[in-house]
Subunit: 313 residues, 3 copies
């Protein structure tokens, strides 16, 4: 039995298979509408994350399966002094697969050790959020036709943004990748990413303060939010924040086939006039997320791909 | 693509079609049990309204569709600084149709402008609640066989009750309607309803303080609750409240075929001994609400009516 | 129309039929996967009980039915001054069957009097939790092959534990049962259980302080939690609590075919090293609970048993 706890749990080959399946689903969703009939997904959300929860639930419903669970610990008694180990053994009697969101790092991993059913980490604290990473990869591959030979700009809060860390680690396994790390000094990528991931693998990277100057060289721009509460004083925040807002003007400096990604929710870090730019891929990401999660549920449950069969794969 | 934000979004002809469909569903619900198979309704309730949410969910499930969403902002992260415009674009990737309840007036309208899927206003602040109005119309039509030639009494809080305002505006488009507006002075219908809706359309009406005296002339009595907190002082409330409670004694003064409606929940404004009176239509309203919402979902999704086909309509 | 409010609502014969059906479901769950197609269960949980709610929802989904409801009063407006009588009449328009959890004793009973659909009590205050009792009975019967001729130990909080009281009352109807009541003095079984249930029915019982000494004679050990807040002073709690913790050491004193039950959640009253003991039946109970609830839903909705038909029963 497989789980998905860390994005690196899947080999590059397995990720390719997952993205291939997601692409086939995207091409013909109706072909998959009964694939998970009579299967049940439990969404155990110990902290609310409506977007992620609804995305998982939409994925399972699109496959013809059922959903049960809880949206927030406030309406749950699941944790009443009970260990994650006991909870998952109980939920193993109710469902065929679990998506777990937990404020504590490592909770989904611990759950997976006691589970009788596949566990998907739907975000554990500041730690991992592997299905977001798979979504990012799918969106990059669909936009650029490849996961190799790319200059990837990551902009905003590179210190605390777990999606950024996961994306770097996963893309580090691809060929000929270059990173441009765009952030205020205060929110630089953690040192271990630089030394253990980038330098250890001889991956070229550049750290910079300027989004504007970086624009022309990027194939992908991955935006994240710069949160006020990350700064020591408000002056620094006010002085810096505009530099990390993506505007129509900055977009004019970029390649015509660059793609802008953002894990959402967006507050003001991308202005609304960018939304209609064909390079804006962040709402496409939301749709891709559903297909990736459908592919993941199918993979972890070992469900047959009706399209693969027909084509004799 | 159509939305339903304001009860007046639908023409009188469209309302007639909707109520006809609701009647056909009511006559043979089983014929509709797979009509929305593989379709998904998202219920986005930024404030809890269990009755309305469950009614929408029952409607979608009765059509063989699926449901996902959130019951309250407290268990949602949907609004974390995110605009309604972004949220609806995200949810457009998860569902085929949305029912949105929001404490802010105009939020569902704004959502509909950015949505890729039909949006139903399930109540926005004190503003509109169009499916309640459709339910009221269905109940009146089923009870009386017509939406014309009626004397309609509205009793209780006519100032803040949005269902009352919507019902007046919608019924004002019917022929030969007369309104009897029964309320304490403090809770009279707003002036704009009198001038812009009733007088502008030459619709006869009477304002009165006495429910008792009005009873004999009514074809329909629409009850609402008089809330303590609407009064400046408790004395006035205590003095007045009994006048606006519907009792068996007051029912004895009414026509034998009058119908009593109430949007529920009821607190004490209708005594329990009225429940068994055949003229009490308020629990019937709850059932009709499900049929109206089934008809609305079918209409907005453009689903075929299996009964209409067979009869060659 | 039948409801299940009190475990004693079902005769011993009806309980046998229910457990027989649950056993048939357990033997071949796939045979039952469409039995409740197009039926809807409403889960009305006025206080959160995630385990119980998810168990009911899993049961209904396993039968091919749909689920709607609310997980907690905090995300519900169902009770806004509205009586349980009105709420259940409303919900009768939305669903075919209801599972209700309520902090107030008697609320589900009151609901059942006004309901047009079957009501299942999913726990009302400290009062009753009949589906837990049915689960306990199913687990005992599957483990021991009988509900008669048993020495049943009940350990821990016998004063406040409603599952304990229900189990005693129900097992009191079986033949040749003996109870060993193991608790601290402060948490003895209430007097009315002793006089009205045990002595009135000439059922042998023993009260004791020692779990250890009782182990060798038990066929069943039903563990419950000893909660700190039940004690007047912490000293007593600290002094006593270890006596009521089930360990591997204490298990060594028990019969080789004893079965350990626990209604869960467990905090520390059973040590983790007992989990792998084949006599540990508490996670099996969780699975049995789903089958019992499937059987109950089928029984109350009058659904045909596809396996019974084939065998000509």
């Amino acid at each position: 039995m497989r789980h998905l706890i860390d994005p690196l749990d899947f080999s590059q080959q397995e990720i390719t298979s997952l993205l291939d399946l997601a692409d086939r689903i995207c091409a013909d969703p109706a072909a998959y509408q009964d694939v998970a009939a009579h299967k049940k997904l439990a969404t155990l959300f110990y902290e609310p994350s409506t977007r992620t929860r609804l995305s998982f639930e939409a994925a399972m419903l699109n496959l013809g399966g059922h959903v049960l669970g809880f949206p927030s610990e406030t309406v749950s008694s699941a944790s009443k002094g009970e260990s994650v180990a006991d909870t998952i053994r109980v939920v193993s009697c109710y469902a065929d697969i679990v998506a777990m969101r937990h404020p504590k790092e490592g909770a989904p991993l611990r759950a997976s050790r006691y589970s009788r059913i596949p566990v998907i980490n739907a975000g554990d604290g500041g730690h991992q959020h592997p299905t977001q990473t798979m979504t990012d990869l799918m969106t990059i591959r669909r936009r650029k036709g490849r996961l190799n030979d790319l200059t990837i700009g990551l902009c905003g809060d590179l210190k605390f943004g777990r999606t950024v860390h996961s994306l770097i680690k996963t893309m580090a396994r691809c060929e000929n990748i270059r990173f441009v790390l765009i952030s205020p000094e205060e929110l630089r990528v953690p040192d271990y990413i630089i030394t253990d991931v980038l330098e250890a693998n001889h991956i070229p990277y550049k750290e910079t303060r300027s989004l504007e100057e970086s624009m022309p060289e990027l194939d992908i721009l991955y935006m994240t939010r710069v949160q006020k509460e990350r700064f020591f004083n408000e002056e620094d925040y006010v002085r810096l924040k505009n530099s990390y807002i993506l505007t129509k003007e900055k977009m004019a400096l970029a390649k015509p086939d660059m793609a802008v990604l953002h894990p959402l929710p967006r507050v003001n870090e991308i202005t609304l006039d960018v939304d209609d730019d064909p390079r804006a891929a962040y709402f496409e990401q939301v749709q891709n997320a559903v297909y990736v999660r459908m592919a993941l549920i199918m993979t972890l449950l070992g469900l047959k791909d009706p399209k693969a069969e027909k084509e004799g794969n």
